[in-house]
Amino acid sequence: MVKNVKIPLEEFLEIRKEVLLQWPTGSHPMLDLEESVKRLKSVPAHKNFALKLRDAKAKGITLIQPRAGVARINEHIELLQYLEKEGRADFLPSTIDSYTRHNRYQNAEDGINESEAKGRSLLNGFPAVNHGVDGCTKVFESVNSPLQARHGTPDARLLSEIIHASMWTSNEGGGISYNIPYAKNISLEDTIIYWQYVDRLVGYYQEQGIELNREPYGPLTGTLVPPSISNTVAIIESLLAAEQGVKNITVGYGQGGNLVQDVAALRALEEQTNSYLKLFGYEDVFVTTVFHQWMGGFPENASEAMGLIAYASTVAALGKATKMITKTSHESFGVPTKEANAEGLRTSKMVVNLLRDQKMAESEELEREITQIKKEVDNLIHAVVRVGKGDIASGIVAAFKNGLIDVPFAPSELNAGKILPARDIEGKIRILEFGNLAFDEEVRAFHLQKLQERAVQQNREISIQMTIDDIYAVSDGYLVGKSKQ
């Protein structure tokens, strides 16, 4: 059974040998740990993700990062350089393709070859494992900003080895957040163990004096996820990472839509991540937040998409997120061109810059939402600790099995899939079907009351139709779904 315990070094090194055998690029000499420590130590501060985040946090500003990745190295470099220069991105990503995410390296190889043949990317991301340390290092050396792998990979051990050895100083993901929304039936025990390995690798580098950043993936399915559910997952993954020695963590949250609820979620997330880290005895972890621009279905119209992107940027800035992940006007169609990507960045940058000296005013409404989210998170984490008999790793596995924690619209069969979210009349995300979710009576009553208010105002029933209307609403240009007569 999985436990939240630091992997002993020897054990780690044993597993490591196997991991490196998963694909030929794993046997590259630069994957020797002493070699990569040396290389990572040579990374200048402005290209180190962890340090640039510390700096931004000190200044109280919001930095921006796009999503981007294509099959071929040179095209990928060109893309990143363009986003850095024309888009003024502060952080660069390499979004990994879906075959690599499922460890189907042979499919990825075919995709690269076919892309070479057709002269356009047939993969939806950058196949970092296939390109190996040489390719990834070349990417690192071609840009001036810190690099991060962004993916959705249940078993990202080889991928993580390769990117860090290539001086990429951040890695997104986690054993829960890269399983439940990204897989159908991969065991949660397994993915937690895989990600303990990934975190242990970062912990190893930390022991050598190299600070790397880790970012649990916040938005989960990106679709009407109640803040307390995604915050709980982020906090648990932070605790798991901290146990393995990670010291620089960015917790994430995907825009829900209501300004106050979103700022409250960011504030609650940062405060509770810090306080739970302390509670569990991890003292010196540096925590920042990342806000994801709207993760659900986008409007087709480019101008509407830009409106949504700019509104999201307003929320991130007022909520004082340290980083924001941007979207583009192509979102509803497909992987964006570099021009569309840079446009999204520029719009986002304009807004966060305009708002850099402002934050959301303290108000009763904000205070109430923060308290509400914290109370719900406490409910959920309490349940995890209880069913794990004090161990959060085994606890989270059991909590998912019993539906005590439940993520809406997740593809995973390990997820109960019993809860149904819907918006209240102000657009705040609430829950109408709780399944077995570990919310106490008071919390449930609050949610139902809020939905009841909407039902009355909209003159309709509380039902799954609310949920469906709300899923379509934003791409149709509204936040709160309207009932069709």
């Binding site: 076919e114 939806n124 964006p336």
Partner: protein
């Protein structure tokens, strides 16, 4: 009652549309067999054989649709599903491409109906009725 197979092909995990398609088609009187995300061509074909389905509605969102759908028609033929209707929709190629061309590519592969991004399942109900009835 007509039976339709729905699911998301390849290494694709986009589950939201799939759940809505399930709900909407069921509400509209179809017997929906949902094989979910991360489904292979074989999964679709086996389900269609087992349930004597009239149509297979493939979703592909993540961009690899073009690769994942190749030879689907041939495999159906091979499995004795010569008359089954093949639909595909979602975000079936990488990036924003000219849709007339994309449609042609998929029709050449033997698909009966090909949908661009932004078409909701509600918008396809009329076609389904036309092609297989209710």
């Amino acid at each position: 009652m007509k039976t339709v197979i729905i699911g998301v092909i390849g290494a694709d995990v986009h589950a939201v549309g799939n759940k809505i398609i399930d709900y909407v088609l069921s509400q509209n009187g179809y017997n929906v067999v949902n094989i979910g995300v991360l489904s292979t061509q074989e999964d679709f074909i086996n389900a269609a054989i087992e349930t004597s389905a009239q149509a297979i509605l493939i979703s592909s969102l993540y961009g690899h649709g073009e690769m994942d759908c190749r030879y689907m028609r041939e495999k159906c033929d091979e499995a004795g599903l010569e008359n089954i209707k093949l639909y595909v929709g979602g975000n079936i190629v990488v990036g924003k491409q000219d849709f007339t061309e994309v449609e042609k590519r998929f029709k050449d592969m033997g698909f009966d109906r090909v949908y661009p991004p932004g078409v909701k399942i509600e918008d396809a109900l009329a076609h389904l009725k036309e092609d297989i009835g209710i």
